[in-house]
């Protein structure tokens, strides 16, 4: 299927390339208590963080591999490296980033995006953050946007207060692993009533082989503040596996608005096992826009815990599973407070032997009266062998609530294709048009540049989809 058109090649190369980097630090493959201690030591961390790491490592060891969802039994935790660093310190000027690292991010268009339409940008390769910068006027307003290691040094009080409060280490095996060996990630604090006009973006890149990337992101949006955070990711392709296991914690305080957008485009040798959760306090609005296109297996269910009255959540997740891929994605909205509302929309496409799974959970706790939730999932299968599963779950423990659920599963219809082709579109163009339309509810929410990138990625996946 590859190599048919030059257009395809150019686009593949845009994400799948390797730089020959000399690493300053590279741990031997394998995971142990000593590895956890060494990571903490290299970072010169306070004792309390080392304690958290070690406790999490114990938690990781004693927890069995989860027995639901895709088969993860062939992940060999000792065949990857847990710390590999191409740079010594975080630069806030691209000229100070090591040449080849800088070259990588230039190829991915990060500095250009930063100049054109971002309020701040971060770039991480392997285990460490290479670059982080926030616009000066926002720094002056008290906004903090840095890598999480720097935040631990400069703002220990905020980390002590919030780290692990949204996603505790006991949440799942991979949350425990991340807590034990975390490195890099973004830390965002937006002070009261500060509204950031343009998005903040972080980009995560895996360049080497057999890498474990465990970034830790913590976003705190104070009362009445607003932020749009965007993350992108990609990796060079190898025949052996890499593991990306992030934890993202979002705290949306009273009257705040947070939108968190992800364009996940890992190469197909990456296991992407991520825990993302937000706590939404009174009258706040949290949105997850989560797109999964790459990776071998993704398991990711962005969640919102609606903890304050009148809090709202909107979770829009899309997935594209090509041959050999499993996109096990979905969303959770848990209503703890009265008058809270949530909407969940999932759109997924499976192509070739690809498989998409939607897991959705809406839970309304006792006391969360007058809450509303609507969950909808649409799945589209392109080929006969494509697979899709829908696993919605509604747990309602309060009476005065409105909860709705809808699901559609379909194939690209012969009659739809005939209709479009009867106006002169080729079969490939007709399928692409249907697919683009199917994802429209997602793409129309993205800033233009990201919508274009998303469409391009999908187009790339759709090449030679028929015949």
């Amino acid at each position: 299927m590859e190599n048919k058109s030059s257009f395809l090649d150019i686009n593949k190369k845009q994400y799948d390339f390797r730089e020959d980097i000399i690493y300053l630090e590279k741990f031997a493959n394998g995971l142990s208590r000593e590895v956890v201690e060494r990571i903490s030591k290299i970072k010169n961390e306070p004792e309390w963080m080392l304690k958290i790491r070690l406790k999490a490592f114990e938690e990781f060891c004693k927890r069995p591999m989860q027995n639901w969802g895709p088969d993860l039994s062939h992940i060999d935790f000792n065949s990857i490296t847990y710390f590999i660093s191409p740079n010594e310190k975080v630069a806030n000027n691209w000229d100070d980033v090591p040449d080849k690292v800088k070259k990588t991010f230039e190829k991915l268009g990060i500095p250009e995006s930063e100049r054109k339409f971002l309020a701040g940008a971060g770039a991480m390769m392997e285990s460490t953050t290479a670059y982080h910068k926030l616009r000066d006027d926002l720094t002056a307003k008290g906004v903090i946007f840095c890598d999480t290691d720097t935040a631990l040094k400069e703002h220990p009080e905020l980390l002590k207060k919030y780290f692990g409060t949204v996603v505790p280490m006991s949440d799942n095996k991979f949350a425990a692993l991340n807590t034990a060996v975390w490195s890099g990630g973004s830390f965002v604090y937006v002070p009261k009533n500060v509204k950031i006009d343009l998005p903040l973006q972080a980009y995560f890149r895996i360049n080497a082989q057999n890498v474990g990337q465990f970034e830790r992101t913590l976003i705190i949006v104070d009362e009445g503040a607003e932020v749009h955070y965007i993350e992108g990711c990609s990796a060079a392709s190898y025949s052996s596996d890499s593991l990306h296991s992030a934890v993202v914690e979002v705290i949306a305080l009273k009257d705040s608005r947070v939108r968190y957008t992800t364009l996940q485009n890992w190469s197909d040798n990456v296991y992407n096992l991520v825990t993302k959760r937000a706590h939404a306090y009174e009258n706040s609005y949290v949105e997850w826009l989560d797109a999964n296109i790459g990776s071998a297996i993704t398991m990711k269910y962005p969640s919102v815990y609606l903890k304050g009255e009148y809090a709202k959540a909107n979770i829009l997740s899309v997935a594209f599973a090509n041959s050999g891929q499993i996109q096990d994605a979905g969303s959770k909205a848990i209503h703890f407070a009265p008058n809270t509302s949530s909407t969940i929309l999932s759109k997924s496409i499976s192509k070739g032997s690809g498989k998409t799974v939607f897991r959705g959970l809406v839970q309304i706790m006792k006391g969360a009266y007058n809450s509303k939730s609507f969950m909808k999932c649409d799945a589209l299968m392109i080929n006969k062998e494509s697979k899709s599963d829908t696993i919605p779950s509604l747990k309602i423990n309060e009476e005065d609530v409105q909860v709705g659920h809808e699901a559609t599963v379909g194939k690209v219809g012969e009659d739809q294709l005939f209709y479009l082709m009867s106006r002169g579109l080729s079969e490939n163009d007709a399928v692409s048009l249907i697919v683009g339309g199917f994802f429209k509810q997602f793409t129309k929410e993205l800033p233009l540049e990201y919508a274009l990138e998303f469409n391009k990625l999908i187009e790339l996946e759709m090449k030679d989809s028929v015949g």
């Binding site: 012969e414 739809q416 005939f418 009867s422 106006r423 002169g424 579109l425 048009l433 339309g437």
Partner: protein, 244 residues
């Protein structure tokens, strides 16, 4: 030379034969009406001309500008200038009419020029501007869908348009606009094969020929007046007189 000629066309679907030897010649700018009872093969003929994969030609040929098109794909037929106005147009979620037509039109027009062109054609058909942004056929009423098909014909300016019941589901106002759309295309020399059950549309679009189809064969052809005969006598009597 005829623009389009159907010679002894036999078509089957799955295991059932539906068309049993259709012969028809259509010239530029002519309007042919095809009438017949339910199940007589009208829509099958329309789908077969456009090349729907469900229908197999077992004998005979379709010739467009003297070239046989039996084995051409749907999009290749469309590119020759054949158009099918659907009885039941598909709904395509998230795709707007403008986006679809811009891709189908394949012209050098820039987006603004194209947008203005489509808008003026929408005005002619009294189609509301909001249709530009709505998903193709999604949530459209019967009449809106039919007007939308006529609009696409007006945009693409085909050489041959097969219109499968463009009047069904349309109210009187829509019917007049649809007729006007057909007449406009005719003026631009588009040949039309119009499939209908009712005479109502023919009071606005005066056909050159009327054909009656029964059991997959054309059993009687005539001029405009034949439509009136059908109206008066009904199919059953005509079939008794002419059919087998």
């Amino acid at each position: 030379m005829n623009l389009f000629e159907i010679k002894d066309l036999h078509v089957k679907t799955a295991d059932k034969s539906i068309l049993n030897g259709i012969n028809l010649k259509i010239n530029e700018g002519e309007v042919h009406v095809l009438m017949g009872p339910n199940g007589s093969g009208k829509s099958t003929l329309a789908y077969s001309i456009m090349g729907h994969p469900k229908y197999t030609i077992i004998n005979g040929s379709l010739n467009f500008n003297d070239k046989e098109i039996n084995s051409l794909k749907v999009d290749e037929r469309a590119k020759l200038g054949i158009f099918l106005g659907f009885q039941y147009p598909s709904e395509i979620s998230g795709v707007t009419l403008t986006q679809f037509m811009k891709q189908a039109h394949k012209s050098d027009m820039n987006y603004v020029e194209f947008f203005n062109m489509i808008k003026s054609k929408m005005n002619e058909l009294n189609i509301d501007d909001s249709f530009i942004k709505r998903s193709l056929n999604e949530g459209f009423s019967g009449g809106e869908k039919k007007k939308n098909e006529i609009l696409q014909m007006a945009v693409l300016e085909p050489k041959l348009a097969i219109l499968d019941e463009p009047d069904s589901g349309a109210d009187v106002d829509a019917l007049k606009l649809i007729a006007q759309g057909i007449n406009n295309s005719r003026k631009k020399n588009t040949a039309v094969l119009l499939i209908t059950h009712y005479n109502r549309l023919l009071t606005y679009v005066k056909p050159d020929f009327v054909h009656i189809i029964h059991n997959g064969k054309i059993i009687l052809s005539g001029d405009y007046n034949l439509a009136e005969v059908i109206e008066n006598k009904g199919y059953e009597e005509i079939i008794k007189e002419n059919g087998k």
